[in-house]
Symmetry: C3
Subunit: 221 residues, 3 copies
């Protein structure tokens, strides 16, 4: 179905784990958690989406626990943030960029894993989106913030959905390879970053709220 070799696929998965883990460690730094909290939050963000995906696919012990190599990216991420290799001072922008990179890779690799487990294109797309947004939602929920996913400034789920759908269609057509998969990931990343840069929005949940729903209780980053 695809010519992405297993080794390359695991490699991409690990890179995605690393990007998400950095976003978790940056949030830990912003919230002044300690280094162990940073490692744990990084692990949760990096590995959470994939664990949820593997639980839903119901194929034995999730990769994150079966293969200890998955612990390396969070350890690396916590170290880079600790030594300020990733610039903590501009944490908000960095956090969003690393989060976008994780989102871009995971909507491709998550959809692929689901297809390989025998899911049809529509469920595989949904599971790909779940994998891609799951880690970030866990990060924000555990740190007691409203998930980035629900921040109406910028689009978040839309690029992930388009990327997962494109991956499923390309795989269906037999056209999914390293170049096409990379192109999808780059497009998802670009769409997310451009939406943040230019403040693209989709319509609100309720059309023309005539002063009705109060914004009380809303907290945004």
């Amino acid at each position: 179905m695809t010519d992405l070799l297993p080794g390359i696929q695991t490699g991409l998965d690990l890179v995605g784990v690393f990007f998400f883990a950095v976003s978790g460690c940056l949030l830990a730094a912003r919230r002044r958690f300690d280094i162990v909290g940073s490692l744990l939050l990084g692990s949760l963000v990096g590995l959470g989406g994939g664990i949820v995906r593997d639980l839903i696919l119901d194929r034995g012990i999730p990769n994150a626990f079966a293969q200890p190599v998955y612990m390396l990216p969070p350890i690396l991420a916590a170290g880079l943030v600790y030594f300020h290799v990733v610039r903590v001072e501009r944490h908000r922008r960095s956090l969003l960029a690393f989060d976008a990179a994780g989102l871009a890779l995971f909507c491709v690799t998550g959809t692929l894993k689901a297809l390989e487990a025998g899911m049809g294109p529509a469920p595989a797309t949904l599971l790909g989106v779940t994998t891609a947004v799951g880690g970030g939602v866990l990060r924000d929920v555990v740190a007691n913030e409203v998930p980035q996913l629900f921040n109406p400034r910028g689009v978040y789920a839309v690029p992930a959905l388009l990327g997962a759908g494109a991956t499923a269609l390309l795989a269906q057509a037999g056209w999914l390879g390293i170049p096409s998969g990379a192109a999808v990931a780059v497009a998802v990343f670009a769409l997310r970053m451009l939406s943040l840069r230019f403040g693209w929005r989709v319509p609100l949940a309720a059309r023309l709220p005539r002063g009705g729903p109060s914004a009380t209780g809303t907290r945004r980053r």
Copy 2:
């Protein structure tokens, strides 16, 4: 064990998903999330309880991912809230009513699914309650609010527990059918709504708190 046909059972499950999804989309509207956030929050509330149930039953890929028809109720719910078919202006009362309807249906269908998977009456009752309250807890946690479940005004888990227990007992006695199942759901819904209307309460977690536990940090809707 039951004479609820599979088709009818799936139908009731989908109706329950729809009710819960509306409650999620109404919360999204109140918090001024966008339409995509509304769809995702609706999906999480509508499908979350059932996914947790299916993961615990450990019988392959959860229905919500295996059967794409489960995506329709959240899409419908997000559309109805967007076009104000469900009255968003009175969102709080609507939200609680739709939430109660989902609770009523899910404590019946969740218990049934657990019995069909071979669980005994006591574990099936517990899993039915978990299914019924799970989606709402996920909704409130992800939206960074204290779950409705813990709001001491009105009863929430008690009707779900009574409904799940009644379902298990009726099934055990061979009396569970469409009329009796519907009667249980209606009774759960009525009990929940009446408790909200008249402010019924159960005792607090600690008897006669003599000024001890401070209410600091408590946020209620």
Copy 3:
């Protein structure tokens, strides 16, 4: 691999469930939830970590649902808190002590369960830590607080990690028995309590934050 008899192991597991459940019921009392909320929060804390562990091990229905005896510790905990047998007035200190006791037992029993399921020492250690910290994170997340795990005052994950690692090494060496397992649990409990008493800390997530990361939005207990 170990000479802890299954009955003793289940017994220790139930004691751990009880300790964590008390911490949940105490938090419910502090937040002025009602008695049903107390029972549910106690159940979530006590059983949540083990359910996550059993889902990840993918070995059928989690113990908490398969064996109704697991419901007894949360019921007992809710009763003891309701009748002030556990001193609710000094809830913060009590909560942290019961939480520490649960942490100490679960990092041993969780690691053991993972080893028995055939995991290697490194993944078993990780799953033991996940089991030990999982319930407490669920408690705090559901009650809309920043998890104790991320509170930089005192160490939390470090004793759990040391305890889980020691359990795995002892089992590997064939030295794990009731005395050695109990010694590990007591050491974990002591390390956690001493760290709270003397305010031991590990370094922050980012070295020497030169006024950069703002503490805005941080809430601590």
